[in-house]
């Protein structure tokens, strides 16, 4: 158990060490760093026999037991396949990145991001608890953001990174909401337990809400139409990222989630309508867009979109062999697409261009690359005996049937696969055969670090096809069982059997060949189609972002116009409302008070004088009058304190008021006080209304307070312990220096800070003067 935990943490630790290691070893740091995913791969490979027997492996640690949260993992055929793909391809991609970014000043940072992503992705597919899945899910989005924006000097890269983050990160929030509902409905937080509660989930009245929210997460991550736009744009990232995140692993996280939940949420009419429809549409749209591109990476990215659509289609199709088809195609796609991306990167790296129309006749100069491309593209096109062939046979076996639904989706798969065959042919043949085309750089074979990864992946696709029996027993049968939620045995073999699937495969190849021969015209047709439609989600993203900036600017300017009076007016208006609305709503007005009897004349006189002082401050026309009036009300307040048993307050107030008047007199002689209030009547009236409302509100609250019961607990406490515990006779003083001593310390600090601020304000002036 500890070893599995270590395997899940190791990539994060390696990410921390990567920059230092790269400073030390340069691009050769790729070799030691690749050992990390290799170790993870070998560790999880050790579970292979257990999983192949149909067992599951669980483990983990309690995290917040009170909320039933745990850091726990759950390994079945589905997670194991993903773990092996992520760590296996990860090791090759790290090596590839060592060669691809050789000499790049930020190579260490790149390794760190790549390993960070690897750790997040491993955690995502191993996660048993919902929370863990969500945290890792968002972490992959963040890692993807960092990697797409790696070349942050270019605006296109920044835009693509932001777009990917907004789409996938936003989708993650949908997923979170969906998981929370799932938790609420079942009371479970773990997938391993959830799998046996499918009935309850499907019967829940919240089923549709859960489904839509979960699909919101899965469709954004796995680039289903119309959220597919971020994926081709993510090609701004360096090629190792495209090969790893945006074909083999991260974009499959959505598919993983759907497969994981398919035994729980699948099988309903909604599931079997929405998933195939969206997947089928994505498949066709992606394939058409792929034909339109000439940039190798963007072509591959669009076919990735199409393949993801096919996987979603299969996951939701619900026929007997759909799970097996999804399992086979998933692995086959990861292998050939990862290889093809790396090969496209090699072409770009060694020739200086990745534009299909500017490449040709490279077979002699780059024989290894050519061979690897042929093998990978053959798998993509579905030629026997490659794994892609097995996948395609199984896909057609799953889809083909007599019902109208089967016919529609078989036709969609045929069209999408046919176009993908054309793309595969274009990728494998166009750059290497035919007359030599001049390239920006003189082409030569790629170094070992670059060619090792794609060659091994292409070979793996061939080996898996040839030794399909062992491959199925080890990987695809457990995977298909996990997707279907019941034991499945995959039997697809590399030897063609006569039948409907083979006929459809042949038709696909024929269609692909025709489109390839007419590639120029097909590209023109696809181009025109897209241009005729005009608006797309990509432009929609720009419009949405621009709209967001415009709205937020307008809102900011409206609520922060930079005029103090607006802020003050808003503050006091809200204060008046807060004071007056609740009593009005709840009818909690204070009772009408009686005029107190027997108030001595001198008290009334002092209070009247205070009011007069306030009035004089309001209407003062000269500086001296204002200062004087301010002094009068201050001294009156002091006298009031004195009259009502608070001599300490009175003395302090006398001192403070004296000081205030003196300081004011010193400063005010140099300040200007307008002879009268500058406000015209139309401003003065609303201001006065707000002021009166505030005064009224505070007065009503005070009245309500003094009419209520008085709780003397605190006062009694201080009175009781002032002498007996704190040994002081003046209770107020004891509170200040003893019971609330820390408070007084804070007060002294405030005074000191204010003094320092005043001093520095004065000093600045002096400094400038000299």
């Amino acid at each position: 158990m500890a070893l599995t935990f270590a395997a899940l943490c190791l990539p994060f630790l390696a990410a921390l060490a990567a920059p230092a290691l790269t400073r030390l070893l340069g691009h050769r740091a790729a070799w030691p760093l690749a050992l990390v995913p290799l170790a993870v791969f070998l560790h999880f490979l050790g579970f292979g026999a257990e999983i192949a027997r149909g067992e599951v492996v669980t483990g983990g640690y309690a995290w917040v037991p009170a909320y039933n949260l745990s850091f726990s993992w759950f390994l079945d055929g589905l997670s194991l396949t993903f773990l092996l793909l992520i760590s296996g391809i990860g090791a090759l991609v790290v090596l590839y990145a060592g060669g691809y970014l050789r000499g790049h000043p930020q190579q260490g940072r790149f390794f760190a991001f790549l390993l960070l992503f690897m750790g997040a992705m491993l955690g995502l597919v191993a996660a048993d608890s919902f929370l863990m899945l969500f945290v890792y899910w968002e972490l992959t989005s963040i890692a993807s953001f960092l990697l797409i924006g790696f070349d942050h000097g270019r605006e296109a890269a920044r835009r693509a990174a932001l777009q990917a983050l907004v789409v996938t990160g936003g989708g993650g929030l949908f997923l979170l909401a969906g998981l929370l509902i799932l938790w609420n409905v079942t009371g479970l937080t773990q997938f391993s337990l959830l799998l046996s509660f499918g009935e309850e989930v499907r019967a829940s009245p919240f089923y549709l809400a859960m489904l839509f929210l979960v699909l919101g997460g899965a469709f954004t991550k796995s680039a289903q139409f119309p959220f597919h736009v971020w994926l081709p744009n993510a090609m701004e990232a360096p090629t190792p990222v495209s090969a790893y995140l945006h074909s083999a692993t991260m974009v499959k996280a959505g598919v993983y989630l759907l497969m994981r939940l398919s035994p729980v949420m699948g099988g309903t009419p909604a599931w079997e309508t929405i998933l195939p429809a969206c997947g089928g549409l994505t498949l066709v749209v992606g394939a058409v867009l792929a034909i339109r591109e000439t940039d190798l990476k963007r072509m591959l990215a669009q076919t990735t979109v199409a393949s993801l659509g096919l996987l979603v289609l299969l996951t939701g199709f619900g026929s007997e062999r759909a799970a097996a088809a999804a399992a086979l195609y998933l692995v086959a796609h990861a292998l050939f697409k990862g290889a093809l991306f790396m090969l496209a990167g090699i072409l770009d790296h060694e020739t200086g261009t990745r534009d299909l129309t500017r490449l040709g006749g490279l077979a002699a100069a780059m024989p290894v690359t050519f061979a690897a491309t042929l093998a990978a593209a053959a798998s993509m096109a579905g030629l026997p005996p490659f794994l892609g062939f097995l996948g395609k046979e199984e896909v057609y076996a799953a889809l083909a049937g007599g019902s109208p639904r089967a016919v529609v989706f078989t036709a969609a798969a045929l069209a999408g696969n046919g176009l993908m065959v054309a793309v595969a042919l274009a990728l494998a043949l166009k750059p290497f055969l035919g007359p030599r085309v001049e390239t920006p750089r003189r082409p030569h074979e790629a170094p070992l670090l670059l060619s090792l990864g794609p060659a091994l992946l292409a070979l793996a696709g061939l080996a898996a096809g040839l030794f399909s029996g062992a491959f199925h027993a080890m990987l695809t049968s457990p995977l298909a069982s996990a997707i279907a939620g019941r034991p499945e045995t995959v039997t697809a073999a590399p030897v063609p059997h006569a039948g409907l699937p083979l006929a459809l495969s042949a038709a696909t190849l024929a269609l692909g060949l025709i489109v390839y021969r007419l590639l120029g015209r097909a590209r023109g047709a696809a181009d025109r189609l897209v241009e005729d439609i005009g608006w797309g989600p990509d432009r929609g993203f720009d419009q949405a972002m621009r709209g967001l900036v415009r709205v937020s600017t307008a809102v900011t300017r409206a609520i922060q116009p930079g005029r103090l009076e607006v802020y003050m007016t808003a503050t006091f208006a809200v204060l008046a409302l807060a004071l007056l609305v609740p009593p009005a709503v709840y009818g909690e007005w204070p009772a009408l008070p009686l005029w107190p009897a027997g108030v001595p004349l001198h008290e009334l006189a002092v209070m009247a004088l205070a009011v007069a002082g306030v009035g004089a401050v309001l209407s003062a026309r000269t500086r001296l009058a204002a200062i004087l009036a301010l002094g009068i009300q201050g001294f009156c307040v002091a006298v009031i304190f004195l009259l009502f048993g608070a001599p300490d307050l009175a003395f302090t107030q006398f001192m403070v008021e004296t000081l205030s008047v003196v300081i004011l007199a010193l400063a005010m002689t140099r300040l200007r006080l307008e002879p009268r209030d500058h406000r015209p009547l139309r401003e003065a009236l609303p201001d006065a209304a707000i002021a009166v409302a505030c005064g009224l509100g505070v007065a009503l609250y005070l009245l309500r307070i003094v009419q209520g019961r008085f709780d003397t607990a605190l006062t009694d406490f201080f009175n009781l312990y002032s002498r007996t515990v704190a040994h002081g006779a003046n209770v107020v003083n004891v509170i200040i220096v003893d019971f609330r001593g820390t408070d007084t310390l804070g007060e002294i600090t405030v005074v000191m800070v204010a003094g320092l601020a005043i001093l520095s304000l004065i000093r600045i002036r002096k400094g400038r003067g000299t």
């Binding site: 200007r672 209770v731 007084t744 204010a754």
Partner: protein, 125 residues
């Protein structure tokens, strides 16, 4: 008796708010002084007022007499007075310095931090 305090607080509070809504910084300054007194009176009255002896324990006794003023609001107000005085002093110097450097004491004419014609943020990425 509290009614008189309620009225007093209402007058102080309304006057303070009216002054603080002014555009001239000097009047806002006067408003903060009134506001401090308004709040102090509010605290004082909410602890109930007694025309009674101060909360001082007579010699030879352990607790104050039955009818003494409430010491708790007094302690709170004592802190408040000192803090509002330092706040007042700081504000005064700030207003004075602003007037020296900017040549105005009208808040609306001080637009260095938030200029009137600030350009919109760039639309790109």
């Amino acid at each position: 008796m509290e009614l008189l305090f309620v009225l007093l607080v209402a007058v102080f509070f309304a006057a303070a708010v009216y002054l603080m809504l002014s555009k001239a910084l000097v009047r806002m300054l006067l408003g903060t002084v009134l506001l401090a007194n308004a709040v102090n009176l509010l605290l004082f009255a909410s602890g109930r007022v007694l025309r009674a002896v101060p909360p001082i324990i007579p010699a030879g006794r352990d607790v104050p007499a039955a009818l003494t003023a409430n010491p708790l609001p007094q302690a709170l107000i004592l802190t408040a007075i000192v803090i509002s005085f330092s706040f007042f002093a700081f504000l005064l110097v700030l207003v004075y310095r602003a007037w020296q450097d900017l040549g105005t004491d009208v808040a609306n004419e001080m637009r260095i931090a938030e200029p009137e014609d600030e350009p919109a943020p760039p639309a790109g990425y």
